[in-house]
């Protein structure tokens, strides 16, 4: 058997290589390190199946690089080593040759990847790591992961790598296959899923499983599932395996057919992949006569100096660039992404699925993700940089003329710089393509406000620097490692360190290569103060790369002395005086800039790692947790004098708090603490008090009152807050006070009264590590003590005099009493009619203002002059909402209402009492408000206006489970009605689909009931859907009446605080007994319906009517907290609807009582229906909506 012999030879060859073992070691090490770094969640054992699966899949990404080296070698080593004339001429068939080589590569790879599950297994039993409880050893957990995921992946990847390398006859081509699998397929899968809104596509398309398995199914596992559940070969995962195995086999067949055991002379390696008639190769015939030439070569004076070296550098740069530009993916890769972006611009330029004005800033946000961000298509760029840098460093050696080039009078630094510049040129070419894609995207969307300057600045100023830094690192690594495959591997590890520094517990950006505090750009703020710190960091990193480049120049492999020992020897000689100067310069820069940055991040500003932060929170609880239930006076009035100096990033606040003892006991001490760590000073009381504890570390001060504050008594507290941004910090540059974009809230700067439970650590596992008593994230609904506490006890009126620079307008909640100018400052005086709770914000910017009146309420709209697109729409929404809510739930409590654009790139809006803030991105949303469109911005504002009734200073639920339903669920429900009233049912239906669509995202079906809701998903989505369903079953008036009644019975901040139990009770009042089950199912249970119409048939009666028969199937399942399904008997009222062709209005819509299982529904209607089924309006929680109705089958 020749095949067997070839296999054995190849296998032995690969196994005997040290690198193969090194690869295995890397994979093993990966699993160990990951086990050290990852801590399982609460209630999850260390050796849970989720960990085993996830690490194997992610380790598979690293293996893709390794596997490419193995498969590429097996496929194309003979050609690379120029041994193929020997091997190809032996009497070996193509089948034996390719078969043996492929099987050997596959076998080695299969063994290598075995080290992943094996390493995971070992990592649980490494001595010194024990101490954690482990589940018993379950071999099947490892085997199933290996045989279902790892091994098929290995086969698929090896086949592609092998095929590509064999056909191109280039070992390195196998890396393209890896790139294709790791990134292109991944990004493609996620992109298609996003484009078509179908997440199942990811499961089907992703070959590696990072998105398709980990990001998809696994993300939905509950704690108990994570412990024990296994990935099973069914559903889309099965089809995924079938699909990719067929691709792999197809590739192998193609390889077999197209591969030639012959020396191929052709210009393009691409031609080997495509069918083409052979072109005669032309070689010039030579006269066989020998004669002396006698031609004199002119003697030219050559000079060797900087000018010549520069010329050489440019030449090497150019030849490097052309090499990369001609590479099959050199320009096409980025070009294709740019093209696809331009074509699908209408899907990319959206916010919450609503089209947005493609302003340049928006397009640039898409084009410039951080270098380490792999989740956008542009994540391909750093990977291509790594790959191409390897190609460039090895260019001469791969072409076989390194001896010629190395013997030329070219200094090492010229090679180094030339190649770096060559890659720089290709980067510029890529950025040009990206810019073209971005502009095409804008023009394609009929937007012509191109800001070319901003494009150039962002792409070629900011983004290019980042890519260049990364490219230089890749260059240095490839030069120093001096082994292409290992260079790639090292670079990938470095890259993952850059991309996920927190995973490796590195947080300070002085330690993360190329990092910076981040920059942003917004229409209002421009780049703000972000460019300075960015530049300091970049110069610091450039100094580092200079040092690295010196190292690379010294270690540059030249001639035949390629071993590190020999190169180190040569490096000593190369270390000239100028090298020493450059090294000194670089070191000096690193030290001085590093110290300067450190001074800024750690001295001028407080540097806190996440561990420091957690420790701080834990310490807060340890020191002051004892005061959790100490009675404290309530904040009743806030008076502020605020002076904003945007240019200097400075604000000074003089504050007076009026505190009232609303408890029944005298209060003898006042706790004043700052959440954000901003200090306050000059604290005075209007009655004798002494500081008993001044904690400047956690900023929590305790003052003892000489005379206790008796119930009902009040006191005044005065203090000053100085906030001045000094220098810059480690993470994102602070944005509280910025030119044309000041926005800060009370949480950002102002102290609060009493112990603040939300300053505690909430994560159960972290609490355990800090030895804090276990506590639920949100107190239980049935915790009677907790039910007495709202999220915030403050019920304060607010008054502020705010001054800012002349060009800007300052804004705060309340009615605008007065504006005046004094000197170069502009003053405003705001005052609220009544209590606004405790949350507020103060803003300053160059706003345009519109003032309108509605029923005695003055509505003031502040916006960036260029963002006027939605102002009318917003005003309409505010007015319509005010009118509707007043009518349905009760009056609006203030005579003032403010809507203001908040500088920064947020897309949503938020509300405080009597004021709504919306992000700059919101103002760019450009919805279709025609009958088929969906005016989301209109809805969003209606939702925020609804919070003036639900939450804030009106309905103040207890801070227990379900509290969010009373705030967000009711606001969603209310906003929907305003949307429906303004735009009709179609817009509402789009919104309902939007609410339902998040059920389709990968998410766990096991969740709490609405009564005990504990996450946003339940608050917003399920809350909204459940209330909407009830309004359809019970009638809108009844439900709204119940809500109005709930609101009337509870005064803000007064006990008993409302909970979901009160809401339930109110709705139950208006629910007939026959529908009690539904209220129960929606609010008390985690119930899902599976409703399906299988067949719709019609027959005309003699009277000309239509007899309709529907075969439907129904099922109701309860999913418990660990994700187990329990089928529940059904006897449910469900809508049954029939519709005519092209009509929205139902031909027939009635409630029918539906039992579990299959059944037939008979209905007679006057006209012929076109479609119909059960629950046509999607009132139930059903994961599949598309099968509720069917089309009439035409006979």
């Amino acid at each position: 058997m020749k095949l067997w012999k070839i296999f054995r030879f190849e296998f032995t060859y690969l196994v005997q290589r040290i690198t193969t073992w090194l690869y295995g070691a890397v994979l093993l090490l990966f699993t160990l390190v990951m086990n050290l770094l990852i801590s399982p969640g609460d209630g999850i054992y260390a050796n849970n199946t989720f960990h085993i699966t996830a690490i194997t899949v992610i380790g598979g990404l690293i293996w893709l690089v390794i596997g490419a080296a193995i498969a590429g070698e097996a496929a194309a080593r003979d050609v690379k080593m120029r041994m193929h004339p020997l091997t190809f001429t032996t009497p070996v068939t193509k089948r034996d040759y390719l078969g043996g080589r492929f099987l050997a590569a596959f076998a080695v790879n299969a063994i290598l990847i075995l080290s992943l599950p094996l390493g995971v297994l070992l990592s649980f039993y490494v001595p010194g790591l024990d101490g954690e409880a482990l589940l018993p050893f379950r071999p099947w957990a490892y085997l199933s992961v290996y045989f279902l995921i790892a091994l098929p992946n290995t086969f698929i990847a090896t086949a592609l790598q092998f095929g590509l390398a064999a056909l191109s006859r280039q070992v390195m081509a196998s890396y393209l296959a890896s790139l294709l699998l790791a990134l292109v397929a991944q990004v493609f899968a996620v992109a298609t899923a996003k484009l078509f809104g179908n997440w199942d596509l990811v499961k089907l398309v992703d070959p590696v499983g990072v998105a398709g398995i980990i990001g998809s199914d696994l993300a939905t596992w509950t704690a108990s599932e994570k412990n024990t559940r296994l990935v099973t070969l069914d559903g889309l995962f099965l089809w995924n395996r079938v699909l990719w195995l067929s691709v792999a086999i197809g590739t192998l067949v193609l390889t077999y057919v197209r591969f030639k055991l012959a020396t191929v002379v052709t210009d393009s390696w691409w031609s080997r992949f495509i069918w083409r008639t052979n072109v005669q190769d032309k070689t010039a015939a030579e006269p066989a006569v020998a004669k002396a030439t006698g031609i004199r070569v002119p003697s030219v004076q050559r000079t060797f100096g900087v000018a010549t070296y520069l010329r050489q550098t440019l030449r090497i740069a150019w030849i490097s660039f052309t090499k990369l530009a001609r590479h099959p993916v050199g320009l096409t890769g980025v070009g294709a992404i740019a093209l696809v972006s331009a074509i699908f611009g209408y899907r990319i330029m959206t916010q919450f699925d609503i089209p947005m004005l493609p302003v340049t800033r928006q397009v640039l946000a898409y084009l410039t993700p951080p270098v380490g961000n792999l989740s956008t298509p542009w994540g391909i760029i750093p990977l291509m940089i790594i790959y191409f840098m390897g190609e460039l460093v090895w260019q001469e050696r791969d072409a076989g003329f390194s001896d010629l080039a190395d013997a030329a009078p070219v200094p090492e630094w010229v090679f180094l710089t030339g190649k770096f510049l060559g890659l720089g040129l290709i980067l510029i070419a890529w950025l040009v393509l990206m810019m073209a894609g971005g502009i095409a995207m804008q023009l394609g969307l009929d937007y012509d406000g191109l800001e070319i300057g901003l494009y150039l600045q962002t792409l070629f100023g900011l983004q290019l620097i980042d890519y260049l830094l990364f490219a230089l690192l890749a260059l240095v690594v490839h030069v120093v490692v001096n082994q292409k495959q290992i260079g790639h591997l090292v670079m990938l590890l470095v890259f993952s360190l850059m991309a996920f520094p927190s995973l490796f517990r590195v947080e300070h950006r002085l330690l993360i290569f190329g990092a910076d505090p981040g920059w942003w750009y917004s229409d209002m703020r421009g780049f703000g103060p972000t460019l300075g710190p960015w530049l300091w960091f970049k110069v610091y990193w450039i100094a580092w790369t200079l040092l690295l480049a010196v190292g690379a120049g010294l270690l540059w492999a030249r001639g035949r002395e390629q071993r590190l020992k020999e190169r180190l020897k040569v490096a000593q000689r190369r270390f000239s005086r100028s090298t020493a100067w450059i090294t000194l310069l670089a070191l000096g820069l690193i030290l001085s800039l590093g110290s300067f940055i450190f001074y800024n991040t750690n001295v001028l500003n407080e540097y806190q790692s996440s561990a420091d932060l957690a420790e701080r929170k834990a310490e807060y609880e340890r020191r002051y947790g004892q005061y959790r239930n100490t009675p404290q006076p309530q904040l009743k009035a806030i008076k502020l004098h605020v002076d904003i100096y945007p240019e200097r990033q400075h604000v000074k606040i003089r504050a007076a708090y009026t505190l009232v003892n609303t408890s029944t006991l005298p209060i003898d001490s006042i706790h004043v603490g700052s959440v954000s760590g901003i200090a306050f000073s000059e604290v005075t009381f209007n009655r004798p008090a002494a500081a008993v504890r001044i904690d400047n570390e956690l900023i929590h001060h305790i003052y003892a009152l000489k005379q206790p504050l008796r119930p009902g008594d009040s006191l005044q507290l005065n203090f000053i807050v100085h906030y001045q941004q000094h220098g810059f910090g480690n993470s994102s540059t602070n944005t509280l006070v910025v030119k044309n974009g000041t926005y800060f809230t009370n949480y950002d700067l102002m102290p609060a009264i009493g112990y603040q439970p939300y300053r505690e650590l909430t994560d159960a596992v972290i609490r355990k590590t800090y030895k804090l008593a276990a506590r639920p994230v949100i107190p239980s609904l049935y915790d009677r003590e907790a039910r007495k506490k709202p999220a915030s006890t403050d019920q304060a009126t607010f008054e502020a005099i705010v001054s800012t620079v002349k060009g800007e307008v300052a804004v705060a909640p309340g009615v605008l009493l007065r504006t005046w100018t004094a000197g170069d400052r502009r003053y405003v005086h705001f005052k609220t009619d009544t209590s606004i709770g405790g949350e507020y914000a103060i803003l300053s910017g160059k706003y345009r203002v519109q003032e309108k009146e509605w029923n005695g309420v003055s509505i003031r709209m502040y916006y960036h002059p260029d963002h006027a697109l939605n102002i009318d729409r917003m005003l309409q929404s505010v007015k319509a909402s005010m009118a509707y809510y007043t009518e349905q739930f009760g009056p609006y409590p203030y005579r003032h209402f403010t809507v203001i654009e908040r500088a920064g790139n947020g897309g949503g809006a938020s509300a405080d009492a009597s004021i709504i803030y919306y992000g700059e991105q919101y103002s760019l949303m450009n919805p279709d408000d025609g009958p088929d469109g969906f005016d989301l911005p209109y809805y969003i504002l209606a939702h925020e206006v609804a919070h003036q009734w639900w939450g804030l200073s009106r309905l103040t639920p207890a801070n227990v489970e379900g509290g969010g339903v009373l705030i967000e669920g009711l606001a969603v429900y209310s906003g929907m009605q305003v949307l429906e009233k303004a735009y009709g049912e179609r817009h509402l239906r789009r919104y309902l689909t939007y609410l339902h669509s998040s059920y389709e995202l990968p998410r766990s079906l096991a969740s709490a009931s609405l009564l005990q809701a504990n996450e946003d998903f339940l608050y917003y989505r399920k809350g909204g859907l459940a209330l909407y369903a009830l309004s359809k079953y019970l009638g809108k008036e009844e439900v709204n009446g119940a809500l109005g009644s709930l609101l009337q019975k509870h005064h803000s901040g007064a006990l008993p605080l409302p909970t979901t139990l009160d809401l339930y009770q109110e709705i139950q009042q208006v629910t007939p007994d026959s529908l009690n089950y539904l209220l129960n199912d929606l609010f008390k249970k985690n119930m899902y319906w599976r409703l399906k119409t299988e067949k719709l048939a019609v027959a005309q009666t003699k009277a000309g009517q239509w007899q309709v028969t529907m075969n439907v199937q129904a099922q109701k399942v309860l999913i418990d907290s660990i994700g187990t399904e329990h089928e529940m008997p059904m006897n449910d009222w469900l809508e049954v609807g029939l519709y005519e062709k092209g009509a929205d209005k139902p031909l027939y819509l009635q409630m029918h009582c539906i039992q579990s299982g299959k059944q037939t529904i008979n209905v007679t209607v006057p006209r012929k229906p076109d479609r119909g089924g059960i629950d046509p309006n999607f009132l139930m929680i059903d994961l599949r909506l598309d099968d509720n109705m069917v089309q009439l089958e035409e006979e």
Binding site: A284, R302, P409, V570
Partner: protein, 314 residues
Amino acid sequence: MELQIRNVSKTYTKGRGGEVQALKNVTLTIPNGMYGLLGPNGAGKSTLMRILATLQEPDEGSVHLGNIDVVNQPEQVRQTLGYLPQEFGVYPKARAEELLDHFAILKGFSQRKSRREVVGALLQKVNLWDVRHQKLGGYSGGMRQRFGVAVALLGNPKLLIVDEPTAGLDPAERVRFLNLLSELGENSVVILSTHIVEDVSELCTRMAIINKGEILHEAEPLEAMNALHGRIWQKVIAKNELAQLEREHTIISTKLLGGRTVVHVYSEETPAMFDPVQPDLEDVYFSVMADHMMAGRVADSQGGQQNDQQANEA
């Protein structure tokens, strides 16, 4: 200008702890003109050539070109160095003119106009002018070799190193090639390493024979041949007589010719039944090699061959 090689040694560490001494204490003085370095495969020629071409460093010893310390001042050497390696590749997709232009820039021709002239003249000189627009991937072995010569000749090097240049050339190519070289030998040091004796005898004014890293003999070819005058004898024998003859005489070469074996022996006296031969350089080479083998170790040539084969397989 004179090239002085003093006590140069170089040892390679092979895998699994073994060591191979490629050069042992080599000392040579090479004046202007063509200098032949003759030796069998694996004798250390290429190592020496690469050391001279600044691509390797000796473990010990020094090399000086005039005043330039080749080992420690590689930059200066490279400015006046022409090197044609034994094996080299090209960018198959590049055209000859482009790639030569590229090398011209690397060699320091920074002026565009004069560079074009030099490149053009060199292409004509190596007879590639007509095919200068063709891609190098389509070149024959000889054309590619001549392209290499053009690269080596860029900048009128004072030190030209050509490593086994004629291997694989057809006779016409070889003549053309040697002509090119001899033109250059007038005011440069040209070192030609080869295992083909004729290359040396036709071109070189001085030569050295190297084997297993040692210089065995250094001489002028003519002198060397003269020195052997009357000491080389030839006999045509049957194959089975060879063993007998080997015991009695110092055989320097055997050649099979039409089923018979032509044996050359070295003898200072006239051996019986032998014919005198006018010694050529090949006889010089073989007698030096034979002498060395006798002196160095007593081993039969067959054993040596087996070793070679093993080496090849490894």
